[in-house]
Structures are given as structure tokens and as C-alpha cells.
């Protein structure tokens, strides 16, 4: 046992790590006792409702909130925008009404008098030419390498295609919002946030109070997906209303406003010219892509197109459109799903044009990726799981099923990459004299199983049951932790906790060595016992009894270059669809995800991340999109009936394979949240193309778009 080196245990010695461990807070969540921000409800709380802009672009001609103040039960009205203010998109906040009950707040909003001067708007994010004519575009960079013209001349085949993927929203089930309460000059905030350690200071800055006077809590968060990193103007408003009224105040966005202003994933459209040799090896890539991130006029990062494949000869150009739409926020794997949907579809179209198996064409191009061996291995696993070789047919050449052979089946694949490096974070660990363990950090569990991961790491380190570890997250008074974005959290908490755990364990070993006169270097902790070689020296509890009357307290930090965490993953997804050519309905029959992610801490919650990402992918590939109305400039499906998400019967058979040979275990922990949500959109599009022999160019592949493509209405 060896010298004291920070490392994970040898893989075969793990009792918990890599196994399927139940979520620590599963019962709390499933039985409704977990308290989210939206549930914080102390006596005397005021409830808020919002007045928002009802036009795509307008100026406030008149705003009179006085009538609202006279409405029964109304305690305060907060004004975001004054008379004369410009409102730049549908849903922009104008005023918030706080009242004794929600229904009184609604009455208050209705009593506000607002008159608009309607201004011209532009919301057609797919139409680059129209935006250019209106001078509503911004150059968003270019990206060139090699000699495209020469490579094209020598190519066997060239395909010209237009591809696209529409704007979607985060659609967190718990909307953005907060509960604020003042105690003198101290502010107590419950905020639905992915950024527990970082948002307290944002409140302090905006309110011009001492940061030390803000206590921010988020024990549970009802979805974030990249949209909940900020205090936000409505959070600050909640604190101001609480100050003004001397009452606790809860302000959660209503569903429509949530969708309109609290974040979107930007659209992307591209004209692509792609050329290949007779084996399907891509020799030249040209693209011009565009899209919108709202009024800022940006688009998907030029550096991500073409995606994963660094073709020898390429030229790329990006244009951002300025639209009267709510701002973007990071959406799970920012830029990547769009870039993949523009790239891997074009590669598949080369296979279609050459009459080749798409698998072989992707294979022929792997040497243009940074991890060819991993992708190749994952493709082999995926192909076996979905039955690629047995099921493959050339694009559009499959036998139809059902009456008249109207239902066509197809296969598609795509691949992705992500970083997933651990964020900076600290933890405090307490080992109590009775053998129980507590971990504290200002992290948050957005569904990843953060609490469970920490408990597994510590239980594994100390050789004790998971139930003996209490994990405390969700307060800005705990040691600082990074925001949960970009697949950084599991690495961000497991590294510091392992380091702190080993530090504490070695201190305890020293106490045991002294007391029992054994060699500290020979000691190990397993099954609630401290052992010297195979001999039991004492129980864990007896060992902890040597600590003394006070708990042993140690700190952990990360990330460090000791191999506990690293970054950079691949991942391959394959899909089998059926498409009803009469109705245009696409059904995912079977969907396989093969994902590497270094060392897996809890296989159960890790797999859940992948399943969840696949289901989110089915959503953006087939049904969900923000629909902007050109005539009014409004977001016309900002609700849960018309913004279509799949339900439990809509997902088909999902197969998750964590690709984890020993070489992956040796890499340490790498984040997992983003990668599996990236390539499925392209894979589903490719499967539909394989079924039909025609590309449905724009995601989501709604029945209308499928029928249009079949009828030649689209490119």
C-alpha cells in the first residue's frame, strides 16, 4: 500500500465507483419533499405576475401603473421600462406586480395601462438574403485552409446542399425565478440557479450591498441546461420589491415569458458544397452558415464548422442575423449540435451521392478527426448494437412496409466531441469521531447526480456505506464551486472530494498506526474496517474515535494535474427510423449511443445523462422549435401545448453503451452532460434521408417538412 499518491483506486478494487448506485436524494425528489426555489413559501410571501411586451418591436407610448397599485391585494409594482422605452422583442419585461395572492397580482397586471407605438421588426432567421437587404447582418468570421478550388477539380463527386436547425428554448420545467427576503441589510435569496457560488455577488453588485450580506441558496433546481447562470433583471427586481415592501417575495417567470426571454439555443442554416474522392473521403468543404442569437447578431461559432472533421481543404464563412428575438443562452453543448447538424448531414449526402454505405464514408474520414481510434471502436460497438450491417440499404432503396409500402425504414449515424474538463472548485470535508462524513461545497445538483457522485467518491475512499456520507450543496456560504455548465461538475466535485478524502484517510491511518503499532503504509480502508494487508486492525468507527472530540476537517481543491480528471471525449450515435411517406411522420425505432467519458463514478446516473440527452435530441430533431410569426414578430408557440416535446410513448428503443475500456478508466473523470446531446440530430436526419432517398434539410423533421421534401418543395 503503498506510497501516498493522489489517484483513483485500481479499477478492480472499487466497490462503488463504476457501479450502479441509487440517487442519494431520489426519495426526496420522487415524494415531493425536495424543496425547489418555486416551492419556497414562508408566511407573508408576496407573489408576482409580469406585464410583458406584446409586439415584436415597439416603443412604450404610455405606461400608467397607478391603477394597479389600487387593486385589492396589490403590494407593489416594479417598473422595468419607462414611457418612451424601446421594447426589442416579444416578451421583454415592462412591469412586475407583487400581491398577497397570485390572482391579485394578475388583477394588478390587467389594470396597468400601456400603449405601444409599434415599430418595424425582423424575425425571419432562416432568410439571410432578406436580412442582408435590411442591413441586419454582421460578419461572424471565416475559417480557411488548403486549396479548395484545386481539390474540388480533382474530386470524384461534389454535393451542394442547404441544411438547417431551428432555434429551440431551454424549457426548464421550473421556470427562472427567485424568492427574496431581507433581514435588515442582509438579503436571503433562493435562486433557481446552476451557479450557486457565483450569483450572490451579482445580487450584491446590482443592489449595491456588501456581497457578504447575501446568502444564496439553491438546494434543488428544476432544470437549467445552460440557461441559469445569472441573477437576471427579474431576480434583482424580486429583491427590490422585497426591500420596498419589507416582505418576502417570490417571482417566477410565467411559462410564456420563460420561453421568450430566459434563453434559447440559436438557429443555424448553411449552404454547403462538399467534395469527395471515389471512396467517400472528403477532399474539399465550403460553407456559409448563418443564424441568429437575437439582437446581438451572432451565430454558431465559425470554429465549429465543419464539425469534428478537419478537412484538408476548406473555406468557411459565418454571418449573424439581427432579429427581434430574446437573447440566447448557453444550451447544453453550445454550438455543437448545430455544427454537427450542418456537417454530418453533408457527409451523409456524399455517401448518398456515391451510393455507398454511410458507415464506410464516415470511416474513410476518421483520419481527419482528433481521435480516430476511439471513433472507430465506438462505431464498431454501435454498429453491432443496432445491427447496422444486417439492416443497411442504399439511400432510398429500402423495401416499404405497411399498406402500399408507405412506411420506409432507414439508418443514420453521426459523431461528436466535447471537452468536459473539471471546473475549479473547493470542498470542505468533516470526518466525525462517530465515523460519519460530511462534505460541503457550493455546487448544485441539476440532475447530474452531483450529491450521489460526491457520496460515492467518499464512501469508496473510506470504505464505508454511501448512507454514512452526508453531502451539502447549494449555498454560497459553502466552499466555492464552479457553475454547472459545460459538463464540468462531476469532475469538478469528484477531484476535490477524492483529494480531501485521501488527505483525511491518511491522517486517520497515522492515528491508527500509532495506536495499534502497525505500519501506516500497510493500511487500507474497506467494508467499514481498517486493514493492514489482510488483517483487520480496527473498525472505521474505532479509527475515527482516535480523531478526538472534534471532527477532522480538511479541504479539497481542483482541478489538478494528478490524473483524477482530464478532458476530451468522442461519442458515436446511430439511429434507425421509420418514416410514413403518406403522413410525413418520423418515428425513432431504435437509437444507440456509444459514449466514452473517462472514469465513470456512478454508472446509473451517468447512463441517465445519456438517456436524457437522447430524448432531448429526439425533441429537437423531430418536434420542438421556436416559431416566430413574421407578420407580428411574436413567438407564437410559447407554451407547452404548441411547443412540442416528446412524451413517454414517442421515444422508441434507447440503447446506451458506456465505452469504458481500462484505457478510459485511466483517464480519470471527464464530464458527460453535453456530449450525448450533440450528434443525434444529424444521425436522425441521416436515417430519414436513408429511408427516403431525399434529404429533409431542416430540423426539426416535422411531418410537413418531410412531405415537402418528398414533393420536392425544399432542396
Amino acid at each position: 500500500m503503498a506510497e501516498r499518491t493522489i489517484a483513483w483506486k485500481p479499477r478492480n478494487e472499487n466497490v462503488l465507483i463504476g457501479k450502479e448506485v441509487d440517487r442519494l436524494d431520489g426519495v426526496e425528489k420522487a415524494s415531493g419533499s425536495a424543496k425547489y426555489t418555486a416551492d419556497v413559501n414562508p408566511q407573508g410571501t408576496l407573489y408576482c405576475r409580469l406585464l410583458t411586451c406584446k409586439h415584436g418591436h415597439a416603443r412604450i407610448k404610455k405606461l400608467d401603473v397607478e391603477p394597479a397599485k389600487n387593486v385589492k391585494g396589490v403590494a407593489a409594482v416594479h417598473v422595468f421600462k419607462e414611457t418612451g422605452s424601446e421594447l426589442r422583442w416579444d416578451g421583454e419585461l415592462i412591469a412586475a406586480v407583487a400581491a398577497e395572492r397570485a390572482e391579485y397580482a394578475e388583477d394588478g397586471v390587467r389594470a396597468i395601462v400601456v400603449e405601444y407605438e409599434v415599430l418595424p421588426h425582423f424575425v425571419n432567421e432562416a432568410d439571410r438574403e432578406a436580412a442582408e437587404a435590411l442591413e441586419l447582418t454582421k460578419a461572424a468570421g471565416d475559417n480557411n485552409k488548403g486549396d479548395v478550388a484545386a481539390a474540388k477539380q480533382n474530386a470524384k463527386v461534389t454535393h451542394i446542399g442547404r441544411y438547417g436547425i431551428h432555434t429551440i428554448t431551454h424549457m426548464c420545467m421550473e421556470p427562472h425565478g427567485s424568492h427574496c427576503r431581507w433581514d435588515g441589510d442582509k438579503l436571503d435569496v433562493h435562486l433557481s440557479t446552476q451557479n450557486v457560488s457565483g450569483t450572490g455577488g451579482q445580487f450584491a453588485n446590482a443592489l449595491q450591498i456588501d456581497a457578504a450580506n447575501v446568502e444564496l441558496t439553491c438546494e434543488y433546481i428544476g432544470g437549467g441546461f445552460g440557461s441559469k447562470f445569472a441573477a437576471d433583471e427579474w431576480g434583482i427586481a424580486c429583491a427590490k420589491i422585497a426591500k420596498e415592501t419589507g416582505r418576502p417575495v417570490r417571482l417566477m417567470l410565467d411559462r410564456a415569458t420563460e420561453l421568450k426571454i430566459a434563453g434559447t439555443r440559436p438557429s443555424a442554416f448553411a449552404d454547403v458544397t462538399i467534395s469527395a474522392d471515389e471512396n467517400g473521403k472528403i477532399v474539399a468543404w465550403e460553407s456559409h452558415h448563418w443564424g441568429t442569437n437575437g439582437m446581438a447578431g451572432g451565430t454558431v461559432s465559425i470554429g465549429t464548422v465543419p464539425y469534428v472533421f478537419d478537412f484538408a481543404n476548406r473555406s468557411g464563412k459565418a454571418t449573424g442575423l439581427i432579429t427581434n428575438t430574446g437573447p440566447v443562452r448557453a444550451w447544453r453543448a453550445p454550438n455543437h449540435p448545430q455544427a454537427c447538424a450542418l456537417t454530418d448531414t453533408a457527409i451523409d449526402d456524399i455517401a448518398r451521392k456515391l451510393g455507398k454505405d454511410s458507415y464506410d464514408v464516415f470511416l474513410a474520414n476518421l483520419d481527419a478527426t482528433p481521435r480516430a481510434a476511439t471513433y472507430k471502436a465506438e462505431m464498431e460497438v454501435g454498429a453491432r448494437l443496432i445491427g447496422w450491417k444486417e439492416k443497411w440499404h442504399a439511400h432510398g432503396k429500402g423495401q416499404g412496409e405497411g399498406p402500399g409500402g408507405a412506411v420506409k425504414r432507414g439508418l443514420g449515424m453521426a459523431l461528436h466531441t466535447w471537452g468536459g474538463r473539471a471546473h475549479a472548485g473547493l470542498c470542505t470535508l468533516k470526518v466525525h469521531p462517530d465515523g460519519t462524513v460530511e462534505s460541503f461545497s457550493g455546487s448544485q445538483d441539476i440532475g447530474t447526480g452531483t450529491k450521489t457522485v460526491i457520496a460515492v467518491v467518499l464512501a469508496e475512499t473510506f470504505g464505508i456505506p454511501v448512507a454514512s456520507v452526508k453531502v451539502h450543496l447549494g449555498s454560497n456560504k459553502y466552499p466555492r464551486s464552479g457553475p454547472s455548465g459545460g459538463s464540468t461538475t462531476v469532475g469538478g466535485v469528484s477531484g476535490p472530494n477524492r483529494r480531501a478524502g485521501l488527505d483525511a484517510l491518511w491522517k486517520i491511518f497515522d492515528l491508527v498506526a500509532k495506536k495499534y503499532e502497525v505500519d501506516a503504509a500497510s493500511l487500507s480502508a474497506k467494508d467499514g474496517q481498517i486493514r493492514a494487508g489482510d488483517r483487520v486492525v480496527c473498525t472505521w468507527k474505532q479509527a475515527c474515535g482516535l480523531i478526538g472530540p472534534m471532527p477532522l476537517e480538511v479541504q479539497g481543491e481542483g482541478p489538478k494535474d494528478d490524473g483524477l480528471t482530464s478532458d476530451g471525449v468522442g461519442g458515436v450515435q446511430m439511429v434507425e427510423v421509420s418514416v410514413d411517406t403518406k403522413t410525413g411522420k418520423v418515428k425513432v425505432e431504435k437509437y444507440v449511443a456509444v459514449q466514452d467519458t473517462g472514469l465513470v463514478i456512478d454508472e446509473k446516473t451517468a447512463k441517465s445523462q445519456v438517456y436524457g440527452a437522447m430524448i432531448m435530441t429526439i425533441a429537437y430533431a423531430l418536434t420542438e422549435e421556436r416559431i416566430m410569426d413574421d407578420a407580428t414578430g411574436r413567438f407564437i408557440n410559447a407554451d407547452l401545448e404548441n411547443y412540442k416535446l416528446p412524451r413517454i410513448g414517442d421515444i422508441g428503443e434507447l440503447v446506451v453503451e458506456m465505452y469504458q475500456p481500462d484505457s478510459e478508466y485511466a483517464r480519470g473523470v471527464i464530464g458527460l452532460g453535453e456530449p450525448p446531446v450533440i450528434s443525434g440530430g444529424a444521425a436522425i436526419s441521416n436515417a430519414v434521408c436513408n429511408a427516403l432517398g431525399v434529404r429533409v434539410p431542416v430540423l426539426p423533421l416535422t411531418p410537413k417538412r418531410v412531405l415537402d421534401a418528398l414533393e420536392g418543395a425544399a432542396t
Partner: protein
């Protein structure tokens, strides 16, 4: 959308779920909830309910009577959450498309945001909180944990209640019945795989 000759005794909450299939469920769910409410009002007209002013409403929740003073327009969901601090049922939208507010009323799954509190007097309301008593939990709660049918957990209580009601009605449900029967709820994190596995395993054991 309502089937006019459907007898009331046939459990509107449950039949609605069975009737709704796939992703068209949201709009239909709202429409049916309103129809149910109208039917209820006709058959159970309460002479005392005439004023829009706040009035005493007594609700039997998880076996215990609670009296609150609210206007007739206040939903059961708002009373549960804001007046009684029973926050297991979640408020996700204005139109009850997600099922996150599912409770049981006289044994049937009902969206608490689609019922006025005043309508629910004299009925037996069960919320998700009733499925846990200290360390003892309903098999549906245990199954959701075992199969990790949750991530952020915000939709989970509603899904748990929908599953409980579904299995009470169909204790031996098939996979196809699970997929149709739980189609009234939405999860954004994508936990359908675990929920399906949970419901199916319980159905193979007779729903408990």
C-alpha cells in the same frame, strides 16, 4: 372532445389518460379537464356558491381536513402550494400541459391546476406527500429511485402520481399500455426510459 354519454362513475381522470395517446395529449387534456369541470358543476351545484368573494373552503387532503379562505377562482394547485405548503405538485405552466401538478381525487389522476379548489370539497384528495411516511415509501416512489426515473426531479412528483393512478387502474399493464397511459406528463430532462422501466416492473408484480 368529451364523450357525452360516458358515465361519470367511470373515472374521468383515468379514462382521460387512457383515451389520450401520444403527443396530442396536451390540448386534449385541457379541453377534457374543462369538460369534466362543467359536468361536475351541473351535477353538484352548491347553493352557497354565488359570490366571487373569498369564502371558506374545506378540503380533505391525505385524510385530513384543511379549511382555507379563498375566492372561488383559486385553483386547487394554488391552495395546495401557496396556502397549505404542500409543494410536491408543481406549477409549470398556465394550462396544465405537463402533468407536473397531478394529484389523485377520489382515486383518479387529476391536474390540480385545472380544478378550482371550491369544486373539490367533499372529495378525497391525495397528493404525492402521502406516498412517503418517514422511511416508508410507496412502491412507485421506490421504483422511480431504483430505475432512476428522475434527473432534476421537478416533473417527478407528478409522474409518480400519474404512475400510481395508472397502476391502480391497470395493475398488470403492458409496455404499450404504459406508453399510452403515462402520455399525459412531460419531462424535459428525458427520464422516460427509467419511468417506463419502473412502471413495467411494477406492472409485472401486480402494480405494487
Amino acid at each position: 372532445m368529451r364523450q357525452p354519454d360516458q358515465p361519470r362513475g367511470r373515472a374521468p381522470g383515468f379514462n382521460r389518460r387512457e383515451f389520450l395517446k401520444g403527443s396530442g395529449a396536451a390540448v386534449a387534456a385541457t379541453a377534457l379537464a374543462v369538460s369534466d369541470r362543467e359536468g361536475f358543476a351541473q351535477e353538484n351545484a352548491q347553493p352557497g356558491v354565488a359570490s366571487a368573494a373569498p369564502q371558506s373552503v374545506t378540503l380533505n387532503i391525505n385524510g385530513k381536513d384543511h379549511t382555507v379562505k379563498v375566492e372561488p377562482r383559486v385553483t386547487l394547485l394554488d391552495v395546495l402550494r401557496d396556502d397549505l405548503n404542500l409543494t410536491g405538485a408543481k406549477d409549470t405552466d398556465d394550462r396544465d400541459a405537463t402533468g407536473c401538478d397531478t394529484v389523485l381525487i377520489d382515486g383518479k389522476a387529476v391536474l390540480a391546476g385545472s380544478r378550482l379548489a371550491i369544486q373539490c370539497q367533499g372529495q378525497k384528495i391525495r397528493t404525492v406527500e402521502s406516498l412517503r411516511n418517514g422511511d416508508q415509501v410507496d412502491p412507485v416512489v421506490a421504483g422511480f429511485v431504483k430505475h432512476d426515473g428522475m434527473q432534476c426531479g421537478f416533473c417527478t412528483p407528478g409522474f409518480v402520481m400519474a404512475t400510481r393512478a395508472f397502476l391502480d387502474k391497470k395493475p398488470n399493464a403492458t409496455l404499450e399500455e404504459v406508453r399510452n397511459g403515462l402520455g399525459g406528463n412531460i419531462c424535459r430532462c428525458g427520464t422516460y426510459h427509467g419511468i417506463t422501466a419502473c412502471a413495467l416492473e411494477l406492472a409485472q408484480k401486480g402494480g405494487v
